[in-house]
Amino acid sequence: MVTQNATLKSKEELMEKLRQPEVITGSEILLRSLVLEGVDCVFGYPGGAVLYIYDAMHGFSDFNHLLTRHEQGAIHAADGYARASGKVGVCIATSGPGATNLVTGIATAYMDSVPMVVITGNVMSSLIGTDAFQEADITGITMPITKHSYLVRDVDDLARIIHEAFHIANTGRKGPVLIDIPKDISANKTLFKPVTEVSIRGYNPTVSPNKLQVDKMIKAITEAERPLILAGGGVIYSGAHEELHEFVKKTDIPITTTLLGLGAFPSGEDLFLGMPGMHGTFTANKSIQKADLLINIGARFDDRVTGKLSGFAPYAKIIHIDIDPAEIGKNVPTDIPIVGDVKTVLQIANLQAKRADKADAWRAELLASKAQYPFRYKDSEDELKPQWVVEMLHETTNGDAIVTTDVGQHQMWAAQFYKFNKPRSWVTSGGLGTMGFGFPSAIGAQMANPDRLVISINGDGGMQMCAQELAICAINNIPVKVVILNNQVLGMVRQWQELIYDNRYSHIDLSGSPDFVKLSEAYGVKGFRATNKEEAKAVWEEALRHPGPAVVEFVVRKEENVYPMVAQGSTIDEMIMGDAE
């Protein structure tokens, strides 16, 4: 306790020191401002245009800087950090190629509403527009994929811009904000005064809902015979999981959570129906199609959830709670729109929420359906099944790990078979579906949660899109447990080619991938491989016991498909059940 108090005191002393007005360079203003914003870890990669910034970081220890091996690794790590902590992720890259290497990661964060501040260098102000060496118009390039962006033109604006950027990134509907700093701005000196107030005339997100709309929702609940809650990532981003739990308890309404909403509601509870959508549970999809009242809490009616829009939830009155008014009515016509922060809305709703008394038969029906149609697969004693591996990961970690995934079949199996109970335990690229995200995002998640177990589940395809970051796990002893479900093929593409393109397998064979155990060991990370259940259990136990990072490759069946599956263009109750039938 004594040491903790000492740390707190020294932290406060440091902040006090940094708040003192002083004439310093733009680079020093950046670093100070980041510390004052509460940043403790930054992911980055230096280069010509950010040399002044990195020079200022020489010997600097007020936050961690993690040198990744690719800017793509840095931005996904910052994303994972943000998703697993709720804090703003920060990433630094140089101009030109450094900045453009961030684009996929910025788009990933934008699609999933992840708060990030992305710092890029640019060429000297006087060279902008001349096609100078390593010049790219990164504010222009990222305009459609950032919440806002700044090109700093005067060092006097820098402190204000950084403070505004953090505010914009982490309020309202969260998202990435880019700050492009020309090289001369990072060298110029000015009097730094900390900025503590924000006044942005064109930015005032609605937090408190219209109470009359909430009253309408309460009334609709008492009238409904087949009510259903669809909760999304907004619940987690708003920190509203407890309020959601109370709302469900009070109203006794069954709930389904989207891919990004996994963890917003404990998966073990009776009323939880699992995930809806393209690879969702039979019961969640059927219940949406039968519901007479659908309460969307912080989800955006993504096409992977709705399937064919014209046939979506045909009998339901739609209530949509969202902090972003533009999401309401965008895809699905809404009967009761409620604009506001999910947490605030649910707090108000919980004061008057009543049990949905007319829905007893509905609850019984869904409970029976849920028991009859869980996610299923045909297990095998000869081959490792990827679903079995995920179930084993869940059982051996009591569902308490933070799980990050890449994109594809393994992502869906992880969503289906790892049962989440806590928010911010599930990090996955839902909207953009970014391969290469799974592993570096785990590094960020681990940096934000040094005491929690972080498992990164990947396919053999996506793992090779950012494998170089094994180096920073080894060097910094970041103890991520990297799982590779190796089916030697681009599995999800294979599945679509099998089912929708008539078995015409085109360019999906990944044979020739490296030996992942040797690859890991080349980086100094412990590597394991398993080809059957016995080995799988043994090496996984060993990987868990190993104090540092570890890569565990599970060689799984190539032809395995993700079921249920709703083909694109079908309504979500038209499910191909596959093995589950």
Binding site: M143, I200, G202, D324, G329
Partner: protein, 161 residues
């Protein structure tokens, strides 16, 4: 598709036109015309955009525009009585013999001849879009060499806001 005229009050910042036009482009909203200039307040510009779409599209346009940090206000001008004007400069082929007839058209439209060359005249016409369309149509037979239209700028009438 219904035509809508909207005003967008924005911060007078570099790149703001790109933010607004880029938004229309990537979300598939139509821009029939767009004008930008200073507004009544220092630091703010007023854009007037003529677009087409149903009510739902218009609602999305408004909401998406509000998500831009540099957008201060969006006004659906054409939901109330408006004065909408554009200006056109039209260079018409005009040998001396044809000029009296052209001048007659110009006068009837309360337009103006603002320049005369050896083989052409330049006509300036101000009015709503329909008036300018009509003017262009009437001058067509004489041979339009060049045409430049400003696009619509507009305000709501007297007490309607």
């Amino acid at each position: 598709m219904k035509k809508h005229t909207i005003a967008v009050i924005v911060n007078d910042q570099p790149g703001v036109l790109q933010r607004v036009s880029g938004l229309f482009g990537r979300r598939g909203f139509n821009i029939e015309s767009i004008t930008v200039g200073t507004s009544e307040e220092v630091g703010l510009s007023r854009m007037v955009i003529v677009t087409t779409g149903d009510e739902q599209t218009l609602e999305q346009i408004t909401k998406q525009l509000y998500k831009l940090i540099d957008v201060i206000k969006v006004i659906h001008l054409s939901s109330n009585p408006i004065v909408a004007r554009e200006l056109a400069l039209i260079k018409v082929s005009a040998e001396p013999a044809a000029r009296p007839e052209i001048f007659g058209v110009v006068e009837t439209f309360r337009a103006a001849v603002v320049d005369i060359g050896t083989h052409s005249v330049m006509v300036q016409v101000v009015g709503d879009t329909e008036k300018i369309d009509a003017m262009v149509e009437l001058l067509g037979p004489y041979g339009i060499r060049e045409l430049s239209r400003t696009g619509v700028t507009a305000l709501n009438r007297g007490n309607s806001r």
